[in-house]
Amino acid sequence: VEITSHKFTKQAIAALDDEPLQRALKKIKQGFVINRGDAVKNLPEFDLLRDEAKAIKDHTLAHIDLYLEAFEKKVTEHGGQVHWCRDVSDAQNKVLEICRSVDAQTVTKGKSMIGEEIAINAFLEKNGIEPIETDLGEYIIQLRQEPPSHIIAPAIHVTKDAVADIFLRTHTELDPSRSLEDPRTLVDEARSMLRQKYLDADVGITGANFLVAETGSTVIVTNEGNGDLTQSLPQIHIVLASIEKVVPTLEDTTTILRVLARSATGQEFSAYTTFSTGAKRPSDPDGPAQFHVILLDNGRSDLIGSETQDILRCIRCGACMNHCPVYSAIGGHAYGWVYPGPMGAVLSPSLLGIEAAYELPHASSFCGRCEEVCPMNIPLPKLLRRQRQRAFERRLPGRIGRWGLAGWAFVVRRPKLYHRLLAIALRLNQTLGAGKARFAWFPFAAGWTKYRDLPAPAAKSFLRDWGAGRHAGGSLNGTGRSMGRGNE
């Protein structure tokens, strides 16, 4: 995936004018926000579970080395292998090495954000191996040759008509005059196209929602069942996972599972929750002969103990972006990398470096809805603020913004100067503003006045009135008129 986070503003403006995208984004509210609200309402202990889920992850992160080693030990006991990969190229090369060991031609793939993070599809293609996405959304965007725009609904930006269009263009072996009006036909067509690919694939790659230290199991949650076929039919199963996916026990896994699907889609549980433990045993009827876990760090261990460690609790449910008014306005592609929305605006600058993605944490009104819905109680606005601070320390925001803030700080720390300047500004407003109630244009405020009028300030400041004692007699007896207007 090409990283374009530095072009955020341009991409965001383009997204606002993208009609099909805007129509697609409207579906988020019905599909996710309302369903999540209902699911949470129906589970009175949701907030308690949330606290518990947070505690589990905090504990795990504090002892992550021990739990990862315990996980590896169990995987090995069950005939699998864990590959510790420091960065993207380590992980890519390890996957390629495993594929080459069986001379793989095609690889089926379940949905995996780590797969996106290490851009495994492009890498395999470059090396002559064909990756085939089996999650419907991922399959659609693979055909369209674009990155996902949402972490659980990768093709949320694609309308039904656009899906029909790409199927007609790429499934050239089918009758070109067939009707693809009905969404059901689209699903059926994708399914029939994929069926044989599952059987032909030499390697199946999936992600992981959890790594269970207690048993060495990896866990995926899906709604399509594609993950199960991907991992059980080929002779090799490769799991792509980042280090913070580890949890101590099965019990912990189920606690977090109870908040995961509810927060993501509003389901009590996803349709499939699949636990994979090791390679096929002699007594198993099916399963892969080899089981590999790619354990990716890619900068995460640097976050442990840092001011942004809390983001490592994220379980990738997508609730923060579903509820984010900025994400809802511009969609995921504008963020320019794998992780969009509030969690992405915290994580991307941490993984890519603040220089590459400093705009993302600035593109927030800090409305706090993300934190309100986060099932892992991640204080997202606080973390976004930390990222802004990091950007400021590196002099990244534009000079005008930085000088403006510095100037403001200078003035407001000197109350006398502030009041003198305020008085001048109010007088200027009286004379130059000619008593106007609002301005359609104002010096240095084009960002505001391009879209809205700027209401004019009152002629006298509150503190001047207060000082003159006009409001001193206001009483609080709740009888309306006497409040604040006591001495009239």
């Binding site: 503003t9 965001a12 403006i13 606002l16 008014p325 900025v326 306005a329 511009i330 600035h362 593109a363 927030s364 009104s365 800090f366 409305c367 706090g368 809805r369 934190e371 309100e372 913004g401 803030l405 109350p415 008593g435 106007k436 109630a437 609002r438 301005f439 359609a440 405020a445 960002g447 505001w448 391009k450 879209y451 809205r452 009028d453 700027l454 209401p455 004019a456 609080l476 709740g478 009888t479 309306g480 008129r481 409040m483 604040g484 207007r485």
Partner: protein, 203 residues
């Protein structure tokens, strides 16, 4: 400035939340200042929350006898400002007081709790995104049929009033305190003191 007073009351949720929720964090590393910040935080309230939560106010009676009948009957909508709602938990308080005033109909509108797009410097750093948000907000307000939009945060009110005026809407924007204090006959935000035709001319 505020140390001699028993309470500090701010007419904007974001200002109150800054002092109440963020000052203790900001000054945490500076022992002496941290204590002062904590003391200040515990005494600081947003206005409506102060009236209801601290002073126990539960109803407001307005003497509207000197007002024209048209002014006595108002349909108002209340916008939940982010800082007030999420940091200070202000939701029921303004509704309680507004609901108690005779002649005032409080009409809930769609997505009242979603950000209006102001967000401090956000609105000028990302004016296009901010504009989309305030477009959605004003569309929901206009669709509700309310004639007055009330709120408890000057930032949001400035933003929403500016957009409504640009759209030429007749919906008035006021601080919730103006109505509670019986001052809703004064000029609304962005309107001249002398009163003007409902649709208003553009400056």
């Amino acid at each position: 400035l505020f140390e001699p007073f028993d309470y500090v009351v701010a007419p904007s949720g974001s200002c109150a939340a800054m002092i109440k929720c963020h000052y203790p964090d900001i000054f945490a590393s500076d022992g002496k200042m941290a204590k002062r910040a904590d003391r200040l935080a515990s005494r600081t309230y947003e206005l409506i929350s102060f009236l209801v939560d601290n002073r126990g106010l539960s109803e407001v009676t307005l003497d509207t006898s000197d007002q024209a009948p048209a002014q006595r009957e108002t349909v108002v909508a209340y916008h939940d400002s982010c800082s007030g709602l999420r940091e200070l938990k202000i939701h029921a308080q303004p509704r309680l007081l507004l609901g108690s005033i005779s002649g005032v109909e409080l009409r809930e509108f769609a997505d009242a709790d979603i950000c209006c797009g102001f967000g401090g410097t956000f609105c000028v750093k990302y004016p296009e995104i901010s504009n989309r948000m305030v477009e959605d907000k004003t569309a929901a307000i206009c669709a509700s049929g309310a004639t007055t939009l009330l709120g408890g945060d000057m930032g949001c009110l400035l933003n929403v009033a500016g957009k409504l005026k640009r759209l030429g809407s007749s919906v008035q924007t006021r601080h919730v305190a103006e109505l509670l204090a019986g001052m809703a006959d004064g000029p609304a935000i962005g309107e001249p003191a002398t009163g003007e035709p409902a649709t208003g001319e553009k400056d």
